[in-house]
């Protein structure tokens, strides 16, 4: 195809997206669109899969059967979300194995937030409330993104995500209405998860390299800074309801702008964690890779069994 023809196709393509038409896997698409989608969808899938690890840490130690059943269901949902997203990603012609390979070798990233440790039960509350809260803000606009399989997967993810946040808030509420020690535990969890949750919404607009293109393709509907502001404005009143203090001395209501002003985010910390120097990066990767490696004999045995059954069926047919 000549450059002119490609340029022409690209214009038709961009116009389709501008008209809110969906792009489906077999449609012609610019190579950059395909690559960007593989990158974003797989990062998203990896985040769901790695995201199971910090919470998995507390399943066996949940304080009641009710909490345990809920946490187990939440972690199972995350596995499901990872699978929806991997399968959406595979429609672009990349294999599951390649995607895992990228995760396991560190070539692909996952959300940095999962590189922080979960040291108390209150962290299950804070993660549901804050981390899932920030995730919902990120994800809801993606239900209308231009790539059909991604949009459909996100509709399903968003439907299920609301239970995650509510169960987290309920854990916090229970602790905050408990003994002083329990309330302190909740405050401590908020102190540790607040800033990483703000970072989760991505670098500031000035530093965000993908924003403009992503807006055009509807991979993004609002900028990182706008999403962050939205998250803060909706979360502060929830913290007040819990009787907890947001760990930011500069946080205050700005009457003129109608939003909360907030303090400086430590972006050095963010980039350190992204680059692999967070408190749990190595552990997360080790746990993930060893789960995959240790499961190999099971996958192989299942495949061998399936082939044997198939061969037997064929033999009987003859």
């Amino acid at each position: 195809m000549s450059n002119e023809q490609i340029k022409n196709l690209e214009e038709i393509f961009e116009a389709r997206i501008a008209r809110d038409e969906k792009i489906e896997p077999k449609d012609w698409m610019p190579e950059k669109y395909r690559k960007t989608h593989i990158r974003q969808m797989s990062q998203h899938a990896h985040s769901e899969i790695i995201g199971m690890l910090p919470e998995g840490n507390w399943i066996t130690r949940a304080p009641s059967l009710r909490r345990k059943a809920a946490l187990l269901a939440k972690v199972q949902d995350e596995a499901g979300h990872g699978l929806y997203l991997y399968s959406a990603c595979e429609t672009l012609g990349v294999s599951r194995d390649e995607l895992y390979e990228q995760l396991h070798t560190g070539k692909a990233k996952y959300s940095s937030i999962f590189n922080y440790p979960t040291v108390t039960w209150a962290d299950m509350g804070a993660i549901g409330w804050l981390v899932d809260g920030a995730a919902i803000i990120n994800q809801v606009p993606l239900c209308n993104t231009s790539f059909g399989p991604y949009a459909r997967a996100m509709v399903r993810v968003c439907k299920e995500e609301s239970f995650h946040q509510r169960q987290g808030f309920e854990i916090m509420l229970k602790l905050c209405n408990g003994t002083q020690e329990q309330k302190d535990m909740a405050q401590d969890a908020l102190n540790r998860w607040w800033w990483p949750s703000l970072m989760m919404l991505g670098p500031t607009d000035a530093e965000s390299i993908h924003t403009e293109q992503s807006m055009k393709w509807k991979l993004k509907r609002k900028s990182n800074d706008d999403l962050r502001q939205q998250f803060i404005d909706q979360t502060v009143p929830q913290a007040e309801l819990l009787g907890l203090t947001i760990p930011d001395p500069d946080l205050k209501w700005n009457d003129e702008k109608g939003v909360y002003d907030f303090g400086e985010i430590d972006w050095d910390e963010f980039w350190q964690v992204v680059k692999g120097h967070g408190p749990c990066n190595k552990k997360r990767m080790k746990d993930r890779v060893s789960a995959w490696d240790n499961g190999k004999w099971v996958r192989d045995a299942a495949m061998a069994h399936a082939e044997k059954k198939e061969a037997k069926k064929l033999k009987e047919a003859i």
Binding site: G80, A88, A153, E160, E310
Partner: protein, 94 residues
């Protein structure tokens, strides 16, 4: 030996009276496992009463590049629609 589990397309009937609809795909070693995994992946909240699984490699799909010759001929056959026919207003129930 390392052979990857094949990909399966999953179709779910939400309730009796409705058709099976494509829900997504997943990997499984055989059809039986695909059914079991589909139950866990796509119907955790009573989304279905029946599941079909089809190995993806068995699906033949039309190519969007041929959409013109495939689908455009229908556009100039308006006589296939009831509104093509002019009838007097007095005609009822038609």
């Amino acid at each position: 030996m390392s052979k990857n589990w094949p990909l399966w397309e999953i179709f779910v009937r939400s309730k009796n009276g409705l058709e099976h609809r494509h829900f997504g795909s997943l990997h499984a070693s055989d059809a039986e496992m695909a059914l079991e995994n589909a139950r866990d992946v796509y119907t955790r909240r009573s989304e279905g009463v029946s599941i079909w699984v089809v190995e993806s490699s068995n699906i033949t799909a039309s190519n969007p590049e041929n959409n013109g010759e495939l689908f455009e001929p229908a556009q100039d056959k308006v006589y296939r629609h009831p509104t093509f026919y002019d009838l007097p207003d007095e005609v009822k129930h038609m």
